[in-house]
Symmetry: C3
Subunit: 469 residues, 3 copies
């Protein structure tokens, strides 16, 4: 073979190779869209989980109200995050919020094989999660207008600032910035999402006050013992819990943000394992710890499914920051402690007479905080238990920032709307329940068939079969 | 190095490259199967969404009946689509139906790395969606036999003809044919799926007549005002709505049909965004529009969760045709108008005394029609608002074709089975409810524990603890 | 061009190619993680499906109890499978259990792009499925402690041994071993998962005895006819069924274990089709067969949704072994026979006075057994109907092994805990229901708004609008 032929063949090979490289790049980019689409969809379904959990937890007379809030905060959140929230969170430029204009209304977004669009979708599902956490806490007594105002404010502004600080490369706490050599490790948002939502819920619960009959009677006199309102449907609560757990397999592994990255597969797989083990450990620990406490006080064992459910959720929140960074054995410990923290925090709130209709504050705020700190302790190679202290320091700084910012801005917000009379429903309406007061009637109608009609039918049928009685 | 070595090395490289190319092709093909499998599964779950939405919407006495219809139309649809529907829809050859034999019973289907099988699965989930839309509309009064007959007829024949016309390359309205340079743009089926189902529902509702007590009393005398039957469980309705919304992330992005195509990632990402925004805008618009109307007529604000739910569904149906073609800003407008159209159409049906037990006609037929037209208006570069009129013309043609074909064939079908006495249940049975009449009893039994037994247990327990009262 | 340039270019090309090959390998590995993550998540959601199905099937007084069992067996299963189950099942070395130490506590697991971790996650969801099958059967009368003991024992030991025998390459029945040239074909676990769970349920039901009032009255006298306890919520049952069906699209196609394998796409696609058709055929067949039987005995047609639901589940279980091996036409037949077998087995259990609160034994044990045998009959090229008998022989051997091992070890286990008084709840507690006895009260509270409060509110509102009555 002569040189020219060799050369031509070589050129052809190089061209084919280069074409294949391009096709490969394009394909990986498409598969990243696919990955983020599916994980984002799982997270979106968590809206359904929250709605069912909250609906099941409240009294029958407020079911429509709470579900409408769950639905509308997702919708309002979508519009708020589309218009400005996404730009504030992920726009380039500022230390505290994005300043470049190309993400407002997604207006600079036309291409890059859809990467930008799917990022928006994925990040929206996170924003909506942060917002909806609050719905349950303030259920049964919060005005619809207040809730809508709040939820758009949170998704469009408060939450994006937290995201920018910690997840945007330009943010002052971001891993890119490497404070003392390291940034805040909050892989999927124990802090960014759950503490932000949970801290807001805490502020809201304090300003709004407890439901009538929970710690005080209708005249405002303290009750001898706090009254627990029975959940109207434990089946809905369990349904919601399982859907949330399922959604977490999008929330945590999906936070790799792509599947084509060098480490993405490994990280996603680690997340799936740690998420599962922490949830399981949290559920078992919370339930049996509660059983133990009940045995001490009441002398017989009770197995409380609410503890098992919320323990699982606490375990899920607790592992969310560290899911990609900690080893499986550590996730079991994180989950167990999440279970204990949930039970403790739940009892603490009752002691403080803070009324949380669905225990969202113990689950999201307290276990979220624990999740950040746990990451500082257990993160492989860099955590305190691996001999390094800096990471823990940065995690604590992050926790302080989230509480400071969220409480700092939400407290005046809630105080103001409360002062304006927009926050709390009328006491009569609270007694009646919000469904009848504001939502055209009760959520259920279990009226059964009329006895006379059934008799008529049976008679008719008998006659039709030949008159045999 | 000598020539021979160079040449050998070159040959090896070429062989390796060619092997890699093959492996890459095979892999992309497998990932396409993966993509379509997951999206199809999401869509299949919409059957669950419809079942919960319909069950929640009807009275307690017809819950089993409607859910059985939802379940059986998916099953019957699978068999009907397997035997002939898929072949009629996607077989090659004809302008109106497929004529080549290799898709009947999937009999020519053995390979191509599973592409053909997974296509069948995906397309089946669409057919089942079209069929199940009708179940809700005719709930509480339609005979089981009639429903089964109808649903197999629709999935096996009526719907495949529409698919063939618009989505099969051989179809006379397909984008491939380029009527006047352009085919009908119905990316995921506002027209093909939702209008076909919705139009059938409209015809069925007219032929079947309203439920007793809705517009007329038992003697057939018109009521002074239409009576609204309360949904028996709003929780189930909301559950269904969220599941449907979730499923739509398979329905719309999945309609790229693969993820390996050049534009597939970009299109799928765009679909995720526009689907979200349209649903959100539809929900908010419908609810507040209804609140406004209520304020005008009744003087105080009510927030109707049914409006928010159906507004979201209307927004989802409305964006289904254009999801891949329109920009995000346009999807917000399409969603808002879907919300208004839903509310308006719902009121129009009441005015016309057409009884739709779940408002499927406003959601699927009217918003589906709007979705097709909106695509003609807003489709990037080719829509009317981008200065081109032809696309809108073809969309309108498509709408006319779907209505003409569906109404043209379903009207005589329903008239005939009605004439034969197969369509409507006996009036006594309707009063009693179909669950007791035909399904072995009521759907719920909330009998609680016997008081005497509880007392026995408490006494026994006290005794066991040492006789302390 | 001179030789050196050619050579340099060639070397560059070879380097680029080799880099691309590596990137491609890494990417396929990541996508496999993605595939297994999503399929595993679908399967995890089946826990929710089982919880809803079981909860709906029992009486109102035992709803919390059964759901707690469903939740805790997943949690306990996760810990049990993490500590030793996974190692026993998939560890290398032994014929009957894994002996190598690197899978206990996942301790040898740190890398290979996450493949090992995601395998654990996927296999855990299978183990949890096997365990939870039993919950429904023994509902309403089994002690919580017994259930927890059992479920950890099953997931940590009994089930892993079955897995090792059939799915581990070292197992004595594995396809790798090729008994008589062929190993047991149980693609996704009709035998390994469903028969193991179902056989355990059968043994448990026999040892535990029927619920009071089912076949015998409170004094132990046989009833004239068996009494059927009404399901407390058919809506929950249907919800559970649809979620299970959805989850099966992870269970069956996901059992390719990757999507990068040569045949993975083709097999997964085949699974999606056969799974759908078998479920559909099973549902239709079971329901109409039951309708036919009812017509013969009672003279009029009833359409029983429970039959349609369990028929679909039977069809799903029946196709699970052969889903990747049989052709679509065969899956229709397998599904139809699953439907008949379900109905027959359900009636057989009643005849034998074995009480299964949710008919899990007919669905999982009997249809699971049929699934294994059907694979021996219909598996393409190697089944009996393709002229080969060996495969059927091995399938039967597998069935015998599963029954022998499971019944052999579970019978003494249940007999022992029964003897120790740990198995069955106190008769008074059974009458009261387990929710009040052991779980802090009933699962539902449908107390409606107080009439007086509503009147107050309406009066107040009227006054607010200007005193007009």
């Amino acid at each position: 073979m002569d040189d020219m032929m060799t050369h031509r063949m070589l050129e052809e090979t190089a061209t084919t190779l280069s074409a294949l490289e391009e096709k490969f790049e394009a394909f990986t980019s498409n598969v990243d869209v696919f990955y983020t689409l599916i994980c984002g969809s799982f997270i979106f379904l968590m809206q359904c989980g929250f709605a069912m959990l909250c609906a099941g937890s409240v009294r029958q007379k407020n079911v429509k109200n709470i579900m409408l809030k769950n639905l509308l905060d997702a919708c309002g959140g979508a519009i708020g995050f589309y218009t400005i929230g996404f730009a504030l969170a992920y726009g380039e430029g500022g230390k505290f919020v994005g300043t470049a204009g190309d993400k407002y209304f997604l207006n600079g977004y036309n291409g890059r094989a859809g990467k930008d669009h799917i990022d928006f979708f994925f990040q929206f599902t996170f924003a909506a999660t942060a917002a909806t956490i609050v719905a349950g806490t303030v259920a049964e007594r919060c005005k619809m207008q207040a809730y809508l105002l709040y939820s758009v404010f949170l998704t469009a502004f408060v939450y994006p600032v937290v995201v920018h600080a910690i997840w945007n490369d330009d943010g002052f706490l971001s891993m890119n910035k490497k404070l003392g050599g390291i940034g805040m490790m909050d892989f999927a948002g124990s802090g960014v999402v759950h503490m932000t939502g949970g801290c807001t819920a805490l502020v809201a619960a304090i300003v709004l006050g407890p439901r009538v009959g929970r710690f005080y009677d209708q005249e405002g006199k303290p009750l001898a013992e706090p009254h627990t309102f029975a959940a109207h449907s434990v089946a809905l609560q369990v349904l919601g819990t399982f859907i949330l757990w399922f959604g977490w397999y999008g929330f945590n592994p999906g936070s790799t943000l792509d599947i084509s990255g060098d480490k993405s597969g490994e990280l996603a797989a680690n997340c799936a394992v740690t998420t599962t083990l922490s949830a399981a450990a949290g559920s078992i620990t919370a339930m049996f710890f509660d059983t133990l406490l009940t045995m001490c006080t009441e002398g017989h064992a009770e197995y409380d499914i609410t503890m098992a459910m919320n323990g699982a959720l606490g375990g899920l929140v607790g592992i969310t920051a560290g899911c990609a960074f900690v080893e499986p054995w550590a996730s079991v410990i994180i989950g167990m402690l999440s279970g204990l923290i949930y039970v403790g925090a739940s009892k603490l709130l009752i002691k403080l007479k803070i009324d949380d209709a669905v225990d969202a504050i113990p689950v999201h705020f307290f276990c979220g905080m624990w999740g950040c700190i746990a990451t500082g302790l257990f993160a492989k190679d860099v955590g305190l238990f691996y001999g390094e202290g800096k990471a823990l320091g940065v995690e604590i700084l992050g926790v302080v920032f989230i509480i400071g910012w969220t409480a700092g801005i939400m407290t005046p917000f809630f105080v103001l709307i409360n002062y304006l009379g927009l926050f709390r429903v009328d006491p009569t309406e609270e007694r009646v329940g919000l469904d009848i007061s504001h939502h055209k009637g009760a959520a259920y109608d279990f009226t059964t068939a009329d006895k006379g009609d059934v008799d008529d039918m049976l008679e008719k049928r008998t006659t039709a079969h030949g008159g045999v009685a």
